[in-house]
């Protein structure tokens, strides 16, 4: 299973791959991935690669990713070419009109890519007083809701509880549910 996680520096992407790795390790799986640190963390495009299984290199080859988690729709458009045929994406959407673009629609349908959209900013504004730092756990919940990544919501919750500071525990778990519900109904 190969993941690509994209967004903008400061959105807390590293934590997402940390959770995925934590779960995989518990299952005795082999993990290798690559993160972005330093300058790129400052508001620029950020990409994290994650491979579970018999791999050695930290980077995912274009056209081979099973799952794309995009914290920002523009970063999704930039990185859709990482997905394999039949790959799936969770995308945080702030402006839905772009998805009506014909070239994009053709690309996605030719490659049989399924895109699960979640209005992350709206959900966090409504339920979390606009604290957008919860985007990472929201996306993880959404991933479980969409049935992707071979992880259950309970595994995600357990991992978050073990990894995140205790004072954010309740809020984190609430947001995981919000993400889960947003996509399970769809």
């Amino acid at each position: 299973m190969q993941f690509i996680i994209v967004g903008i520096g400061g959105q807390g992407i590293l934590f997402t791959s940390k959770v995925l790795g934590h779960i995989a390790l518990k299952k005795g799986q082999k993990i290798v991935g690559s993160e972005v640190h330093g300058m790129s963390q400052r508001g620029g495009s950020v990409i994290s690669h994650y491979k579970i299984g018999d791999y050695r290199a930290p980077l995912v080859l274009k056209g081979q990713a099973d799952i794309l988690l995009a914290f920002d729709q523009m970063e999704a458009f930039r990185n859709f070419d990482f997905l394999r045929e039949g790959g799936q994406a969770i995308v945080n959407v702030h402006e839905a009109r772009s998805f009506e673009n014909d070239s994009l629609k053709t690309y996605l349908s030719e490659r049989e890519i399924i895109v699960h959209k979640i209005k992350g900013y709206d959900i966090l504004k409504k339920h979390m007083n606009g604290n957008f730092l919860f985007l990472n756990v929201l996306i993880l919940g959404a991933m479980c809701g969409a049935g992707l990544g071979n992880v259950t919501i309970d595994e995600v919750k357990e991992a978050i509880t073990e990894l995140a500071p205790a004072r954010f525990r309740d809020a984190n778990l609430k947001v995981v549910d919000l993400g889960y519900e947003a996509l399970i109904k769809a």
Binding site: G10, L25, G38
Partner: protein, 624 residues
């Protein structure tokens, strides 16, 4: 059963350092190496060793501290990024001529692709230059393992030994086995040896040290032919190989996954983990057994260069491997196929995606200062005061002020000050005086790193410019490490002493020092003008310390000032976008108006001062 954890490459290296019994570790942060030293402290605490772990003010300092500990017989290490070794080159080159008492490891991270660096240099060349051995890990697991062997090599040959990870090893995450600490019975001891020991006089160097170093290097080269079958080995093809690949460091992992994606078993791979000195016989035997051989290594052709007959290999020398850019998995796969004389299956759909990206106005999103960062208004105050000023900048977060068109030069740590001196002298040489304002700007950590020598030189020689110290009271760009100005040490329970910035500046001989709150833009424009007038008239550097804590390290939430862009007043001049460049400010290309992007705005309220027509206004409570 052995214990495993998912570690970042840097943590795996740190784990190895502590397990190997290192007792003194020193570093200056620099991406991609920054996480190594804090992880050494963490594992030292967890494994209950008494390892001394400290930040040095710069890499030369860190190197010499670790070296001193080695002179006293301890296992020690110095950690830095590649340009850090440039700073530490002096003690590095000299210490390579010594016979050391304890094991000494210099861990240097290279950054292929220049993700966070000003050069693409390959420090394995440095190892060759100094004639010391170098280990080149292919992943996090191997990096940890190599630390043990590097220490053993260092002690066996009494030689400085280098571990040279690259960004993708430093920042990979991988499941890594955890071990226990090797207990060394190794109390600090330094024996006085007059006319010998750790003193080098030229005559003795020529007669003894340099011949010793050269003989030692030849011996290591001979031994390395067979010493490390676990790092240097062949993954043979099934049947006759249609291609041989020599791959070192991370490139080995990448080649293996590329072959997997291509489903190829007709290619044999020679893995190299000790590129300096290269196990040459092994390599030349491999080359002799294959019709075609391609070499993948980062970032320079260090292995390639050591091969005596390059005619039979495909590499950088004949354009079969690109000379620049990171060798990512996509690049390696492409060049593997080229070497095989095969074509990549092309797909039409990718053109559709590229078309969509164009139509959707996908723009490059370069890194920029955080919303609310104090550096942004500091630079704005300089540019508002003197749009025409020459602003020499430096290495640190504030280099991102390039995005607000605020700075003109960046060279190396501390060079803002010295380059400003040069700019001043160039104008002075013309006899036209100093009518064009000259500024140097650097951060607090960079000032302690390498700013003081330049500043004393400028005071001594009467160089007229204004030095703005962008003081966010932390080493921010690399993730928030402490330095002499914060006084906090690596371990929070160890108490350090603050070296106050103002005192350090005054100690350099500067008479004009002003400390301002970086957010007070309007006031600071006046301070900037006053400082330049002083520098010009008194012919000496004037210093302004622009202070605001780094927002990523803020302990308490700062005051909020909600703002909006008055759509009637906004004239669409883009000044706020092009010259303030905050992620919280966006531009609507259809309406030709700026607006607040509430996804990123943190309501610092500073941008109210920036708009030339006053269109950015505070939100009053009854507005909503």
């Amino acid at each position: 059963m052995s214990k495993k954890a998912i570690l970042m490459g840097n943590e795996a290296i740190a784990r190895g350092v502590v397990e190997a019994g290192c007792e003194v570790a020193s570093a200056y942060p620099g991406t991609p190496s920054s996480e190594i030293l804090p992880a050494i402290a963490k594992y030292s605490d967890e494994l209950e060793t008494n390892t001394q772990v400290e930040w040095g003010a710069n890499e030369k300092v860190a190197y010499e501290i670790a070296l001193g500990a080695t002179f006293a017989g301890k296992r020690s290490c110095a950690v830095m990024k590649q340009v850090g070794l440039d700073v530490a080159a002096d003690p590095f080159m000299t210490s390579a001529n010594f016979e050391l008492n304890g094991g000494f490891l210099v861990i240097v991270s290279d950054d292929p692709g220049c993700h966070a660096s000003q050069t693409d240099q390959d420090c394995r060349y440095f190892a060759m230059y100094a004639r010391i051995p170098c280990f080149d890990p292919s992943d996090a697991r191997e990096a940890r393992e190599m630390v043990f062997d590097a220490y053993d090599v260092s002690e066996k040959y009494k030689v400085v030994t280098m571990l040279r990870p690259t960004t993708r090893v430093d920042h990979c995450r991988q499941d890594v086995e955890l071990g226990e600490v090797r207990k060394l019975d190794n109390p600090a001891h330094f024996e006085r040896k007059p006319y010998a020991g750790m003193i080098h006089f030229p005559a003795r160097l020529d007669r003894e040290s340099i011949p010793m170093r050269n003989t030692r290097y030849s011996k290591i080269q001979e031994d390395f032919e067979t010493a490390f079958p676990k790092y240097n080995y062949e993954v043979p093809a099934k049947g006759k190989a249609s291609l041989g690949v020599i791959a070192a460091g991370i490139c080995f992992s990448t080649v293996m996954d590329s072959l997997k994606s291509l489903d190829r078993e007709d290619i044999s791979v020679l893995k190299i983990g000790t590129p300096v000195p290269l196990p040459l016989k092994m390599v030349e035997d491999f080359i002799a057994r294959h019709d075609k051989v391609i070499v993948f290594e980062e970032t320079y052709p260090v292995i390639e260069m050591q091969i005596s007959d390059r005619n039979s290999i495909m590499g950088r020398w004949n354009g079969h491997v690109p000379m620049e850019r990171e060798l990512t998995i996509d690049v390696i796969r492409t060049y593997l196929l080229k070497a095989l004389g095969e074509d990549e299956a092309s797909s039409d759909s990718i053109e559709k995606l590229q078309q969509a990206q164009k139509e959707l106005g996908l723009f490059v999103r370069p890194p920029r200062l955080c919303p609310g960062c104090g550096h942004r208004p500091s630079y704005s105050s300089i540019r508002k005061a003197y749009p025409n000023a020459i602003v020499c900048s430096d290495i640190g977060c504030y280099s991102l002020s390039k995005q607000q068109n605020a700075i003109d030069t960046i060279i190396s740590m501390g060079a803002s000050i010295t380059v400003a001196s040069g700019m001043y002298l160039a104008h002075k040489a013309d006899g036209i005086g100093t009518d064009r304002p000259i500024f140097a700007t650097l951060g607090d950590s960079t000032f302690y790193h390498n700013g003081m020598t330049g500043l004393t030189t400028a005071v001594y020689n009467r160089h007229a410019f204004v030095l703005g110290i962008m003081d966010n009271s932390i080493t921010a760009m690399t993730g928030g490490q402490d330095h002499p100005g914060t006084g906090s040490k690596m371990r929070k329970d160890e108490e350090g002493v603050i070296v106050p910035l103002e005192d350090a500046v005054k100690g350099c001989g500067v008479k004009y020092v002003k400390v301002v709150e970086a957010y007070e833009l309007k006031n600071n424009v006046q301070v900037v003008k006053e400082a330049w007038e002083y520098a010009k008239s008194d012919e000496e550097p004037a210093v302004i310390i622009f202070r605001h804590p780094c927002l990523t390290k803020l302990k308490v939430k700062q005051e909020q000032h909600l703002v909006k862009v008055d759509q009637d007043k906004c004239v669409g001049c883009r000044y706020c976008i092009d010259f303030f460049n905050c992620p919280g400010l966006a531009f609507d290309e259809e309406k030709k108006k700026a607006y607040i992007d509430e996804r990123f705005c943190i309501s610092c309220g500073v941008c109210v001062e920036i708009c030339p027509v006053g269109a950015i206004v505070p939100v009053k409570e009854d507005d909503e």
